[in-house]
Every structure is written in structure tokens, then in C-alpha cells.
């Protein structure tokens, strides 16, 4: 055997081993905090998990498919309100609000994906941004007040853990969110690694070539928008349960900007990047607040610029580069 093929054989043999170990460690490290940390810290980690799902959705459409969306806060808000209205007005159990939010947001995402076909790049970005700006106003609209509760918003309750489990509501919600996140990541990973994943990336990198290769652009792009909206909508529904309150002011256009920031900082076109980006958008504002009371926004901006400068392809990109150098491929 030549040197290279024997090397390849060695690493191929080693690969499944360390991947499985890492997966087990990761699962343990993810579940362990539920029994170690205080309720408040778990609440923060739950929020990280929720934003990770939302960023996963954004990543699918923008990172992997190249359709820039600056309006994903709108889908997050839609999912949150669907969940809250079902729980508050129709006594739907909390876990059933997630599929409902998924369905509604997928439908709306598809509807948004259709006109998006005609727009590209910056025009799509602005159009989706307009959607994000419109959302709080629409939520306050008098005609919908009976449903949305208007400016007052809707108050809901965190679920109690299923009978028999000695967990606090925060612990249970954390584990539940973890489960939903794991499922979401698994689904997206599965979607992206096969033929469809290659087609999606091809559409992003060279749509003309993709079309020439037989990829139906319109069908893929609209469906990816639907999948992306669905994921962010589920995150929104979970977010509503975690915060126990939805109001129009919770979903201003700043949410869409925040999600976009999380996408870029975490790492575009990277599943792990969604988690990193989520951690960034949850923890860095608090750090900025501790550094300076007078201008936390400015400190946040400085930290953001530092991240982008030092890690132009995101935290995930940096980690991937380091891993490659260490020999993990």
C-alpha cells in the first residue's frame, strides 16, 4: 500500500470511533446542566437553544441557499403568536403548539418564497426587512386585537414537567428544548448531506450551472424558504413558552437584525455555527452591559467588530480551521 492510502485507511478507521465518542460527550454535556445549574442559568441556556433553532432556520435559507433574509424575526413572531394564542385561547397543550406553529410558518414561508423568486440579493434583503418592520404594527392592528391581545400581549404559563418527574418547570423546559433542537439539527443535517444538500449549495454558488444540471430552481428555493420559516417559527413558539409572554414590542425589526448578526458571527453554512451564534446573541449583550452602563450598545458593537475581524468566517469557521489543522476532518 502507498503511504497516502495507508494514511487514508488509518484515518478512516479512526474516524467513526472519535465521532461517536464526541457525540456521546456532547449529549452528556448538553443534558448535564439540567441537574447542575440554577433555574436562571437554565433559562438562559434554554434561550440559547431556542435561538439556535431559529438560526438554524436562517442558516438554511441564507447560509446554505444564498437567499438573504433580513426578516426572519417575522417568522419567529408568527410562531410565537400561533403558540401563545393556541395555549391561551384554545387550551392546546404546549407540545402541540410546536407542530401547529411549524405548519403555519411553513405555509407563510412558502408564500413569501414565491415573490422572493423574482428578487435577488439585496432586493430580497430589503423586502424581507420591510416585512420585519411591519410585524409589530400588524400585531398591534385593531382588527386583529381579539386574537393578538393588541399592545397588552398574551400571557401564558410554562408547562409543568410530566407527572412523575421530579424536575422544576425550568429544568423540564430546558430538556424539552434540547430534544426539539436535537431533532431540528438532525433533520437539517439529514436534508443537507445528500443530493438535496448539494443542489441547495449549487443554487447558492452558481444558479445558472445548477439549473443547467437539472435542479428545479423555483421549486427548491420556495421549499427551502418554507423549511427555514418552519424552523424559526418553531423556535418562536418555544420562545413564547420560555418567556411566558408575547407582545408586539418583543418582535421589533431589531430581532431580525439580531438573528442576522448571530448567523454571521456563528458561521454561515454551518450547523454548529447556529449554536455559537445563539450563544453570542444571548450572552454578549449582558457582557456589554457589565463593561459599560453608559454605552452598552457601543461596547456590543466593538465586540461584534472584533469577532468579525478575528473570525471572518464565524466562530464555526475558526473552529473548523483549527480542527482541520489538528487532523480532524
Amino acid at each position: 500500500m502507498s503511504v497516502s492510502s495507508s494514511l487514508a485507511a488509518t484515518s478512516a478507521r479512526a474516524r467513526p470511533g472519535w465521532r461517536a465518542v464526541l457525540l456521546a460527550l456532547g449529549a452528556a454535556a448538553a443534558v448535564l446542566p439540567a441537574f447542575l445549574l440554577s433555574d436562571y442559568r437554565l433559562f438562559q441556556l434554554t434561550t440559547v437553544g431556542i435561538y439556535a433553532i431559529a438560526l438554524l432556520g436562517l442558516n438554511v435559507v441564507t447560509g446554505y441557499n444564498g437567499q438573504i433574509s433580513l426578516g426572519h424575526g417575522a417568522f419567529y413572531a408568527l410562531g410565537a403568536y400561533v403558540g401563545a394564542i393556541l395555549m391561551a385561547d384554545y387550551d392546546v397543550p404546549y407540545w402541540a403548539t410546536l407542530p401547529a406553529a411549524a405548519l403555519v410558518c411553513a405555509g407563510v414561508g412558502y408564500a413569501v418564497g414565491l415573490p422572493a423568486l423574482r428578487l435577488g440579493g439585496l432586493y430580497l434583503a430589503l423586502t424581507t426587512f420591510a416585512l420585519a418592520v411591519a410585524v409589530p404594527q400588524i400585531l398591534k392592528y385593531r382588527g386583529l386585537e381579539g386574537w393578538t391581545g393588541g399592545v397588552q400581549g398574551i400571557v401564558i404559563s410554562k408547562p409543568d414537567p410530566p407527572a412523575g418527574l421530579k424536575l422544576s418547570p425550568d429544568q423540564w423546559l430546558y430538556l424539552f428544548t434540547l430534544g426539539v433542537a436535537a431533532l431540528a439539527f438532525l433533520l437539517v443535517w439529514n436534508l443537507l448531506r445528500g443530493r438535496i444538500g448539494r443542489a441547495i449549495l449549487a443554487i447558492r454558488d452558481h444558479p445558472v450551472a445548477a439549473e443547467a444540471m437539472g435542479v428545479p430552481l423555483a421549486r427548491f428555493k420556495t421549499r427551502i424558504f418554507a423549511v427555514s420559516a418552519m424552523l424559526t417559527g418553531v423556535a418562536g413558539a418555544l420562545g413564547a413558552i420560555a418567556v411566558e409572554f408575547v407582545a408586539p414590542d418583543s418582535f421589533s425589526f431589531q430581532l431580525s437584525i439580531t438573528l442576522f448578526v448571530g448567523l454571521i458571527v456563528g458561521g454561515v453554512a454551518s450547523l454548529g455555527g447556529a449554536v455559537c451564534g445563539a450563544a453570542f446573541i444571548v450572552f454578549v449583550p449582558n457582557i456589554a452591559d457589565q463593561v459599560s452602563k453608559a454605552a452598552p450598545g457601543a461596547v456590543y458593537g466593538v465586540i461584534l467588530i472584533a469577532f468579525l475581524y478575528l473570525m471572518p468566517d464565524g466562530i464555526a469557521g475558526l473552529a473548523a480551521r483549527l480542527a482541520r489543522r489538528a487532523g480532524f476532518d
Binding site: L23, A30, F43, K140, Y300
Partner: protein, 403 residues
């Protein structure tokens, strides 16, 4: 996967590191040497102008600590930025209550933001004291006994206007223009409180507008054609300016009463046209720092000295600093009344036991009163009229009704 484990492992270690202190707690947030107070306010984002209140309060408690604190304890005032975003308010409030273990939350700002944590605070039985908004619901002692406001609520303000109208024009035909949300609806409720059964005969027309509407011109015309000779406007600054201008432009001269929220010279009267607003009536409970009447006033000079010593570079025309100072003085009275018992129950009890307490930066004669069935500390205001150049106080203090 590697990244996720490192991240979560790091978070776990960091959290474990920041766990319980071993000091002797006499009550939540209280030791023999310290009282911890929490606050959430908008230091960033679209409402960050309100951050001035937090700065004033920080300076105030620093001054108190310099004078020896209260009951031998220093006040540790922890104020966090919530960016006027309800989910962040929830996070920061939970951090203050569960992580920092503060005795109570003081002067949290914003109706949507404080609404998001109202139920949580009452469930956890932590005082949500002197909430910084005029929404009437902070006085709902029956359902939320741990929540109390401070400033006159919008509903109280509307009661005061209605009392004045009935006093001046018993046969008034009143029109109302209000913003279609909690804020505007509080005004309608206040008017109803005073008119009672006569609401439908006295109010000839009541129209609302959405914050999303471009103008309120059609509403103003509707009100004029309904034959109203008194107009109560519960509108935020942009719409208030439009209303004032339209009323003048259609040649309508009602007794025009404007909510205290929209009395700013720069934000409302200048855009509307100061001469178009002559005769406009509103009310206030604070002394205006730019009013020459209070040039040598003892209370205002006390505040000016405080500002000069502790915040020398601040803009003295920004009455958010005045607000922070006034509500902090009220808190000091509550803490004084607590004696040595700073348990949450006693703090709430003392907050509900204010008797004729006067705050030097409020208009003379305004007395704060609270009881187990009255969670509105300030219920008096004085009317003022726009002269074309400035607001002129007139008449006597008027008190809202017990709602």
C-alpha cells in the same frame, strides 16, 4: 459537537463558580451591612433616553451611601439594561431575583416590559416597587399585591381633567381622541370613572386611532362635526402635534385638554406651531426645571445641588433626572419606615403605608398617600395652560377619584 461540549462545559463551570455567597442573610437581599436593590431600564435601543432615570438613581444611592446608608446598611443598586425589549426584561429580572437575589425591584421602566414580569414578580412574592410608567394597572392591589406604581396614572389624570371640565362647563359636550392601546384606553376609563352614568350623554363622540395611522386629521374633523366644545386628546407626541395643528387649521376652538405625556415644547408644541396651541390645557405633578417660578425654590435647589455634586455634566432641562430623584426620595421614606425589618413583606407593607409624604420636587401641596386598598401614591395634579411661550400653572391641585 466539539464546540458545543466546550461551550456548555464552559457555561456550566462559569455558573458553578458564581454560586451562593456565604454572608448571613437576614432577609432576601438584606444583610447586616447591605440592601440589594434591582432595576431594569432601557440604556440601549429606541427608548434609551429613559436611561437618564437610572443614572440619576445610581448617583442618588451613591450619595446616600456616602452619608452612611440606611439603618447602618449600604444600598447596593444593581441596574440592568433591558433595551425596552420584554424578553430581555424577563431575563434581566430573573437574573436580579434568582441570581443576584435582590430584596426587590425598584422603578422598573416601561409598560410592555414591566407587564412581562408582573405575574412572575407576584408569583415569587418579590416587590415590584414604584414602576416607572403611568399605566393604571400597577395599582391593581387585588390581583397583583406585590406591584405598585408611583406617578399619577393616566386614568387618574383623565379623572382630574373630567372634574375640571364639569367644574367649568357643567353642560359640556365632550369629544375624545385616544390612542388605541392601554395608554389611550386608560384615559377613557378615567373619564368614565367621573362621569359614571352620564358618560353617554356628556361624551358626544369618542374616536381612536392606531399608532400605525399616518394622520389623525379625519378623526379631528369627525369630532368637530359631532358638535363637541371640549376636546380631550390622549395621544403620543407625534399625533398630539398633528391634532393641535388640525384643530387650529379648521378654525375649531374647543377647550382642548392634552395628556401630560405630550407636553414637550420641543417634541410637540414646536412642530405643531406654538401659537396654534395657545390655550391648550394639560396637567403636571412635577416642578418644571425651566419654569422661572421655581428659580429660588428650596426643593428645586436641593435637587440642583444634588445634580451639581453628583452629575455635574448632566442637562438640567431633562426632567428624567428630576423623576429619578423624586422616586428615590420616596423609596428612602419607605425604607426609613421599615425600621430594621427589611423583609419583602414589610417593604411592601410600608410602601402601602405612606401618609401625606411630600417630595420637594413635586408641586406644592402634593402629598403621597397609599394604603392596603390604594396603590396609587400620587393622585393629585395641577393644571397648566400654554401661553404661546411657556406652560403656566393655574388653579389649585385637583385629586383623582378613588377608582
Amino acid at each position: 459537537m466539539q464546540r458545543r461540549s466546550v461551550l456548555l462545559g464552559g457555561a456550566a463551570l462559569a455558573a458553578l463558580g458564581a454560586s451562593r455567597r456565604a454572608s448571613a442573610q437576614q432577609a432576601p437581599g438584606v444583610t447586616a451591612t447591605e440592601i440589594k436593590i434591582g432595576n431594569t431600564i432601557a440604556y440601549s435601543g429606541p427608548a434609551s433616553a429613559y436611561g437618564a432615570i437610572g443614572h440619576a438613581e445610581t448617583a442618588f444611592f451613591k450619595m446616600i451611601n456616602g452619608q452612611g446608608g440606611i439603618a447602618g446598611r449600604k444600598i447596593n443598586y444593581i441596574t440592568l439594561d433591558d433595551g425596552y425589549s420584554p424578553p430581555r426584561t424577563v431575563e434581566q429580572t430573573r437574573r436580579l431575583v434568582e441570581q443576584e437575589e435582590v430584596a426587590f425591584i425598584f422603578n422598573g421602566l416601561g409598560t410592555p416590559t414591566q407587564s412581562a414580569v408582573q405575574r412572575y414578580m407576584n408569583q415569587k412574592k418579590v416587590p415590584q416597587l414604584f414602576v416607572a410608567t403611568g399605566a393604571d394597572k400597577w395599582g391593581n392591589y387585588k390581583e397583583f399585591p406585590w406591584t405598585m406604581g408611583w406617578q399619577p396614572s393616566y386614568r387618574t389624570e383623565a379623572q382630574i381633567y373630567t372634574k375640571y371640565i364639569l367644574d367649568q362647563k357643567p353642560d359640556a359636550k365632550v369629544g375624545m381622541l385616544y390612542q388605541n392601546d392601554d395608554f389611550g384606553k386608560d384615559y377613557v376609563a378615567g373619564v368614565k370613572d367621573v362621569l359614571g352614568g352620564k358618560f353617554d350623554t356628556t361624551i358626544v363622540k369618542s374616536v381612536s386611532y392606531e399608532v400605525t395611522d399616518p394622520t389623525v386629521d379625519s378623526q379631528v374633523v369627525t369630532l368637530q362635526s359631532a358638535g363637541a366644545d371640549v376636546l380631550i386628546t390622549a395621544a403620543t407626541p407625534k399625533f398630539a402635534a398633528q391634532t393641535i395643528r388640525k384643530v387650529a387649521d379648521i378654525g375649531w376652538k374647543p377647550m382642548h385638554i392634552m395628556t401630560n405625556v405630550s407636553v414637550s415644547v420641543g417634541a410637540v408644541l414646536q412642530p405643531a406651531g406654538p401659537e396654534k396651541a395657545i390655550g391648550l390645557i394639560s396637567a403636571d405633578y412635577r416642578k418644571d426645571p425651566t419654569d422661572p417660578t421655581w428659580k429660588d425654590d428650596a426643593g428645586m435647589n436641593q435637587w440642583r445641588a444634588f445634580m451639581k455634586q453628583n452629575m455635574p455634566d448632566a442637562d438640567l432641562t431633562d426632567n428624567d433626572f428630576l423623576f429619578g430623584y423624586g422616586v428615590s426620595l420616596t423609596l428612602m421614606q419607605v425604607l426609613k419606615q421599615c425600621g430594621e425589618d427589611f423583609s419583602r413583606e414589610n417593604i411592601m407593607k410600608q410602601a402601602a403605608s405612606l401618609h401625606d409624604f411630600e417630595v420637594p420636587i413635586l408641586l406644592p401641596g402634593i402629598k403621597l398617600n397609599t394604603s392596603a386598598t390604594n396603590y396609587h401614591p400620587i393622585r393629585q395634579m395641577q393644571l397648566m395652560k400654554w401661553s404661546g411661550k411657556s406652560w403656566q400653572l393655574f388653579g389649585k391641585l385637583i385629586e383623582g377619584v378613588q377608582s
